[in-house]
């Protein structure tokens, strides 16, 4: 079902856990299937310097979460925002067609975090 890379990210997910010192926390949930993800970002000068996640979801959701955190670490917010769920799936070496929707979760949570961060920034600047 899942390739070795997906299984590896499921079994040994990178950047898993809470991050009390996070600058912002993004969330995403699939209303339909109930998957839920939290992403914690540490941001310095518009660059992601720290990232952690927590996910309730299937193997594909967990592996996608893990892979996304790896992909965006060190990226600017601009760059990170351009990461799509297809990119994540591709980087994982592919997901079963029926599981592609599970990879939305991670990209959505990240976008949520960045959006919240921008609002927070603009309100603190204002």
């Amino acid at each position: 079902m899942y390739n070795d890379k997906v299984v590896d990210h499921f079994t040994n997910p990178r950047n898993v856990g809470e991050m009390p010192e996070a600058d912002i926390i993004g969330e995403a949930g699939s209303f339909k299937c109930g998957d839920t993800m939290k992403i914690y970002l540490k941001i310095e000068q518009d660059r992601i310097t720290g990232v952690k996640f927590q996910t309730f979801g299937c193997g594909a959701a967990i592996a996608s979460s893990s892979m996304l955190t790896e992909m965006v670490k060190g990226k600017t917010l601009e760059e990170a925002q351009r990461v799509t769920n297809e990119d994540v799936a591709l980087e994982l070496g592919g997901l079963p067609p029926l599981k592609m929707h599970c990879s939305n979760l991670a990209a959505d949570a990240l976008k949520d975090a960045i959006a919240k961060y921008r609002i927070k920034q603009s309100s603190s600047r204002a």
Binding site: Y2, V7, F10, T11, P13, V16, G17, E27, K32, C33, G34, D35, T36, M37, K38, F53, Q54, T55, F56, G57, C58, G59, A60, A61, I62, P96, L98, K99, C102
Partner: protein, 389 residues
């Protein structure tokens, strides 16, 4: 701890037992005649099939003429329900439970689309259909009740004999999907007062791709397929000869060994349930006592079932889950939802189904690998509030 291969998915399918394979082998080799042929190689095979029919009937308390062999449980359910519906002049009302297998539920749904009235009976939190609910749902135009003998997901054993009695009293046909029950529970068509009963060989250590339908004498049934006259025209086509021989052998042995097997599985089951619930934040799905000897179904809060399943698979344990993600659909198990489980618990269900090959060692192993897995998945769950203390 050494990695093992532990198969705990006997509810999905079970290994073909040696005795059944041995009985099949001659029919996969030298005894290849077509049972419809008049010559002696054909007639010998015909004799073997009729003996298999007698054995099958005997195991179920039926008469040989009441058994037709099918290509599995799905086909048996389709022939029973659609066949009974089509044998009626005009439409009518049928009722079934909301926890049936898709091979029953979907046929009923399609009949509804064709103009039949269909009542989906609710179940209680254990998945039980109550005979009173059945009685209340009856209408003058009710012609068929279909309630499964035991549920495939949560193992709940339904009160079929009571439902059968009330159907028989009123002259309503009663079908039961006994695919999960046969080989795990005593099944006697007379005691259950059923008119139609489905079974599938691969669930009781018989071969895949063969099943049977018990059709009580004089039950009106329209065949769904046309062709040769095989199986009293209810299931035409050249017979799956080795399959039928294997089915009969496996069934006969399963019934012989039933009391002993049932006792053994129940002990394993109860120890497994206890160990799982001890992990905390877990609930047993299905009835605590009116339950298949081999069925364990537990929901772990904060964890998604497919993730559990995958984690177990990586440790060599074959299990199953009512998680939506295991089926590729978005909805989790209709059975768990009908029982009133919340979405999250329904998604966190794990089904472990025990069978012939399982021992105490299997239970120990699963519990040992599952505990850290549950812990790990909980810790990474976005929903987990942290260890309650």
């Amino acid at each position: 701890m050494q990695k093992r291969q532990v198969y705990l998915d006997h509810g999905a399918t079970s290994p073909l037992r040696k005795e059944a394979l041995e009985a099949m082998l001659p029919f996969l080799q030298e005894r290849y005649g077509n049972p419809s042929s008049l010559h002696s190689p054909g007639r010998k095979v015909r004799t073997a099939i009729e003996r298999a029919r007698e054995e099958t009937a005997l195991a179920l308390g039926a008469e040989p003429e009441e058994i037709i062999f099918t290509s599995g449980g799905t086909e048996a359910n389709n022939i029973a329900i659609r066949g009974a519906a089509q044998a009626r002049r005009g439409k009518g009302h049928l009722l079934t439970s909301s926890v049936e297998h898709h091979a029953v539920l979907d046929v009923c749904r399609e009949l509804a689309g064709e103009g039949f009235e269909v009542t989906l009976l609710p179940v209680d939190r254990y998945g039980l259909v109550s005979p009173e609910t059945v009685a209340r749902a009856l209408k003058p135009e009710t012609f068929l009740i279909s309630v499964m003998t035991a549920n495939n997901e949560v193992g709940t054993v339904e009160p079929v004999a009571e439902i059968g009695a009330l159907a028989r009293e009123r002259g309503i046909l009663f079908h039961t999907d006994a695919v999960q029950a046969v080989g795990q529970l005593p099944v006697d068509v007379r005691e259950m007062k059923v008119d139609l009963l489905s079974l599938s060989a691969h669930k009781f250590n018989g071969p895949k791709g063969v099943g049977a339908l018990y059709v009580r004498r004089d039950t009106p049934l329209t065949p769904l397929y046309s062709g040769g006259g095989q199986e009293r025209q209810l299931r035409p086509g050249t017979e799956n000869v080795p399959g039928i021989i294997g089915l009969a052998r496996a069934l006969t042995l399963a019934v012989e060994e039933l009391p002993e097997k049932s006792r053994r599985l129940k002990a394993l089951r109860d120890r497994l349930i206890e160990g799982l619930l001890a992990m905390g934040d877990a609930v047993l799905n299905g009835h605590p006592s009116s339950r298949l000897p081999g069925n364990v179904n537990v929901s772990f809060n904060y964890i998604e079932g497919e993730a559990l399943l995958l984690g177990l698979d990586l440790e060599g344990v074959a299990a199953s889950s009512g998680s939506a993600c295991t089926s590729g659909s978005l909805e989790p198990s209709h059975v768990l939802m009908a029982m009133g489980l919340g979405l999250q618990l329904a998604r966190g269900s794990l089904r472990l189904t025990l069978g012939r090959g399982n021992s105490d060692g299997c239970v120990d192993y699963v519990l040992a690998v599952l505990a850290p897995l549950v812990d790990r998945l909980r810790k990474m769950s976005a929903l987990y509030p942290g260890k309650q203390s």
